[in-house]
């Protein structure tokens, strides 16, 4: 099949139209976050007390859905995977970053995207979290030249996917991740029913 996507990268529309696309995708993004209950900090953090594993279930279902879609469309030759932006990998900084972010998640009760869903549905703590976010980014920026810049790009691997790291065909990994996700969902259901709290 001839390459027909990503539309924007193939020049089918310009920057101004891309902003309209962003707003429309955003509506879907926010809608499903709130539908899932992710405007609520208690619902989100219940993930870490094992009483409600929705964060895991929603996230991994979304990942598997989009992953299978991207793989199938790329394999057909229609979607040019090389034109999809990959965030470059920096091993040590991203390991530290994930840990710090996770601690912030359970203390703050939200992540950046879900705080927007919280604010939209009137959660005052979500608004305070967002102000905290701005403060954190301010701390990072102000400390960038003197501290963060020296190691922010340490241990670089470039723009690289797991199939490339392991030297295996993407199809096998897509299948493995999908199968593992289904197993993990079954486990999550069992854990949840063991730890579920009344109310």
């Amino acid at each position: 099949m001839d390459i027909g996507a990503p539309f924007y990268k193939l020049g089918m529309f310009g920057d101004d139209a891309s902003l309209a696309v962003a707003a429309m995708l955003g509506v879907g993004f926010g809608f499903f976050l709130e539908r899932a209950g992710f405007g609520s900090a208690r619902k989100l953090t219940a993930q870490f007390y094992l009483s409600d594993m929705s964060v895991f279930k929603v996230m991994f279902t979304a990942i598997v859905t989009a992953m299978v879609g991207v793989f199938a469309l790329s394999a057909s030759g229609w979607l040019d995977f090389s034109k999809i932006y990959l965030v470059p990998t920096y091993v040590v900084p991203q390991i530290i970053a994930g840990f710090v972010f996770g601690v912030g998640f359970v203390i703050g009760g939200y992540c950046p995207g879900t705080s927007v869903a919280g604010i939209a549905t009137g959660r005052i703590d979500a608004g305070v979290y967002a102000i905290g976010m701005l403060t954190g980014i301010f701390i990072y920026a102000e400390g960038f030249n003197s501290f963060f810049a020296s190691w922010a790009e340490a241990t670089p691997m470039g723009q690289i996917t797991l199939p490339a790291v392991f030297g295996i065909s993407p199809g096998y990994l897509v299948m493995a991740v999908a199968v593992m996700a289904i197993g993990a969902f079954a486990l999550a259901e069992r854990v949840e029913s063991a730890f579920r709290r009344p109310g």
Partner: protein, 179 residues
Amino acid sequence: MSAVPSPSGSVGTPSYMNPYLAGVGLGLVLLASFVIMGRGLGATGSFSSLLAWIVQAISPEHADAIAPYADYLGEDHPLKSWLVFLVSGAFAGALISGMMAHRVCACVEKGPHISTGGRLLRAYAGGALAGIGAKIGLGCTSGQALTGGALLNAGSWMFMLMVFVGGYAAAWYVRKQWI
């Protein structure tokens, strides 16, 4: 301040969508973003744009001298950015969903054993930590975990794994806030 609906959705209102169904919906939005734009979703970048705009208004020289601001400043207005539009849309989408389910309230999400002030202090501190983490990691649960997860991006999977490690590691120490 109105009552906070219970975590399972307030009594008498439609409860939350089945998580697998919501996940498929979210995944299709993400897939549409890859196909239409050649990029995934994100949230933190919109906060970076907002802050860069504020700092630039106060001191343009200062903003230009620091890459984490300057990267979000160009010829256009700083808020004329893709992620700012995406997040503005997300606000609208969440509001629509919340209104449909009668889940909109001026309220604070917290467990029964913590004061409102204590909860807001932690919301602020947690937000600050997440902000620093998202900047070091070049993304958050949206731009890294969700987007990079679906692309099998190596760094995204490490980041995502560590988000869960960090969350579970700290959960015990802040349990009074939630349970």
